[in-house]
């Protein structure tokens, strides 16, 4: 038994059983198995496990009934998919209408606030130029108190 060689050969055993190794690796495994009893036991166990799978009987099922169930599931999913599609389109339409309303609502000119009306009447009396526009509240209050 050569621990280094065992460690190298062990991971290749299943591939050796399946004939999925290169010829040189396959030879390496076979030569090692001829001399190493513990690896040979492991190899035989893996081979047995594979053979057991091959010996499993087919899974029994009523094919026609199964296909019918599958098709019914598709029909059900198709209906719920169509319902979802209708809901999505209704929601999308509602969002589009709301968005359109919001845009048209924002674009309308807002009615002028009261202070603006007062200011416009008091511009000439108090000499309010463009520089005064930054403090409309103050101007409005002045205008009101003076009135």
């Amino acid at each position: 038994m050569n621990p280094n060689l065992c460690g190298r050969v062990l991971p290749m055993m299943s591939a050796a059983i399946d004939r999925e190794l290169s010829q040189s690796d396959h030879l390496l495994v076979q030569r090692h198995l001829a001399t190493c009893e513990s690896c040979r036991a492991e190899y035989e166990g893996l081979k047995r496990a594979k053979a057991m799978f091959a010996g499993l009987p087919d899974v029994q099922v009523d094919e026609a009934a199964q296909l019918a169930r599958l098709r019914r599931r598709f029909a059900r999913e198709g209906r719920s998919f169509r319902r979802r599609a209708v809901m999505v389109s209704v929601l999308a339409s509602a969002c589009a209408i709301l968005a359109a309303l919001a845009v048209t609502g924002f674009s309308q000119p807002e009615p002028a606030p009261d202070w603006a009306k007062i200011e416009s009447t008091s511009d000439s009396a108090y000499g309010a130029g463009p520089d005064d526009m930054g403090a409309p509240t103050r101007v409005a209050s002045v205008a009101l108190t003076n009135r």
Binding site: A49, G55, L56, Q60, E63, Q66, L67, R71
Partner: protein, 201 residues
């Protein structure tokens, strides 16, 4: 014009559905067998198979006919199954605390009376083997099923599992080893004697 477009769209949709139905009719049995080996449970197997076909139909436009349909289906099934196993594991993190034996793996294995049309477990060989399969990691299990039950080559399995041949080799080896170790540990006499008899018959 619009009417023609709608008609063209609906007819292509119908053609697509008819083509998919043909594939489904020819592969559902094989898909169910793999799903059953993966889950070890007839109810879960049927559910996994149905979910696989539903997802396959959703992405049918991406199917490349140069690959066998069953291979493409197994790829979808593998991903679905691994997702389901992960979700289940998260769920069990809670329930395990109240499980003194910690034998949750054994409890998910087939209930033989679950359905009338279910697979019948052979007492001598199938049940221990199915239990052994359930004890392995989902990736290893799929690789072993595809190699040892479906008889696919490592290259085909690599394509299905979207990985390298080297990874497939490792998964098959580790999966098979876990199965062997499980059987030796839990069914020592039967693994060396009875199973051997079943194989040589």
């Amino acid at each position: 014009m619009i009417g023609q477009m709608i008609r063209a769209l609906s007819s292509s949709k119908e053609e697509r559905a008819a083509s998919f139905d043909q594939y489904m009719a020819s592969t559902h049995r094989q898909a169910y067998a793999v799903a059953y080996r993966l889950t070890g449970n007839v109810v879960e197997a049927e559910d996994l198979m149905q979910e696989t076909f539903l997802r396959a139909y959703r992405f049918f436009h991406r199917y490349d006919p140069s690959m066998p349909f069953s291979g493409w289906l197994f790829r979808i099934m593998t991903n679905l199954h691994i997702d389901q196993v992960r979700k289940k594991k998260r769920f069990r993190m809670v329930s395990l605390e109240s499980d003194p034996n910690g034998d949750y793996e054994a409890r998910q294995v087939a209930d033989p009376n679950a359905r009338a049309d279910q697979a019948v477990l052979s007492e001598s060989l199938e049940e221990p083997l199915q239990l052994a399969l359930q004890s392995t990691n989902a990736d290893f299990r799929m690789a072993v099923i595809l190699a040892d039950i479906e008889g696919l080559s490592y290259e085909e399995i690599a394509e299905i599992m979207e990985t390298s041949v080297g990874t497939v080799r490792s998964r098959i080896h580790r999966g098979r080893k876990q199965v062997k170790d499980y059987l030796e540990r839990n069914f020592p006499g039967r693994f060396s004697n009875e199973f051997e008899g079943a194989i040589t018959q």
